[in-house]
Symmetry: C2
Subunit: 192 residues, 2 copies
Amino acid sequence: MTEQTVGRRARKKAATRQAIADAALRLFLERGYDQVSVRDVADAADVSPPTLFKHFPGKEALVFDEERDREAELVAVVRDRQTGQSVLDALRDYVLRTWPPLEDHPLRADFNRLVDTTPALRAYAERMWTRHADALGAAIAAAHGAPPDDLTARALARFVLDIPALARGETDRPAAVAAIFDILTRGWRPPS
Amino acid sequence: MTEQTVGRRARKKAATRQAIADAALRLFLERGYDQVSVRDVADAADVSPPTLFKHFPGKEALVFDEERDREAELVAVVRDRQTGQSVLDALRDYVLRTWPPLEDHPLRADFNRLVDTTPALRAYAERMWTRHADALGAAIAAAHGAPPDDLTARALARFVLDIPALARGETDRPAAVAAIFDILTRGWRPPS
DNA sequence: TTAATTAGTTAAACGAGTCAACTTTTAGAG
DNA sequence: CTCTAAAAGTTGACTCGTTTAACTAATTAA
């Protein structure tokens, strides 16, 4: 055996997974999400449906392939923040730093249109964020020595994770993110 | 024709709907949501599956039969509030007045356990609330002469509608609701 | 009375997802 | 180098939610 620690098996598995994800995205963009069956995707990737479902837990997951370990990142942002920096500031920096640039990537314009025009995908994308509410809430609570199910910590986590969905449609996304964080730091004030 | 403006037809339709909802809730509580197929429900209510789906848009909707026109209520609460009362105060009053008593009803203990232990139902219940975010956001914006898609109005609507899900597990629900509204009025502060 | 609506039925189908039994490939130990 | 055991993949059949089409029967309104 050479120095590859991954192994041919793991590489082939990853290749299969990638082939499925690529075929799926291509077909979805071409024909629309609802007009493509998972059999179509499996056929295009030259795989059987059960194999497809061994790699992805459901049809919607085919679309969001790169959205892993966001949860670990969120927890780390809160836990490993600069001393003296507030939890809210750390989260705002993180969101501003990582999220708007990602969404602005021009190759993602079609992708975003696909998600926005497909109710099933909109709902799934939303839950992708709010799914991490428990973990983030626990991290926020831990940062202040509170029990992991502290109510206000859970509330803050939930509100922060709502931000991407809220700011999605805005033209100036960073400003929108900042404005919403402002509500969370200073309280809500009537508009203009 | 006597003085009934409803008509026998409408009454029969309502009866069928009720029979379906009753059968569904009974079976779900007996065996668990996932262990009951919609065919089982249709059989128990002595109707065909297509009839069932003419009355309810999906399996989850069988469980939440009484959750209609919440949206109209929310909009009215914001629009018809006492002069001088802030939007946030009106919403807090509404939530405190209508929601915790409903959930505390002892007959609903089993019902709540059913929902809490079934992921599909938890997700559906959450979306039942957040679904009204657009309408409530528009109402809040209108209350301040802002355009209906005003960002901060939408954000506030979203956050308020998250409150039931956040406070669900708490023992003192009114206090929890008040605490979360406090975040929205004064900004978030670290716990204890 | 008649004509138009509408609730409901049956039978068939579709798509997502799962299951069981079997085949092939790969990894690793002796 | 060989043998074995784990894991990837295949096929085919199946369950379940949901929809469609064609039809029946009841109700309402003219």
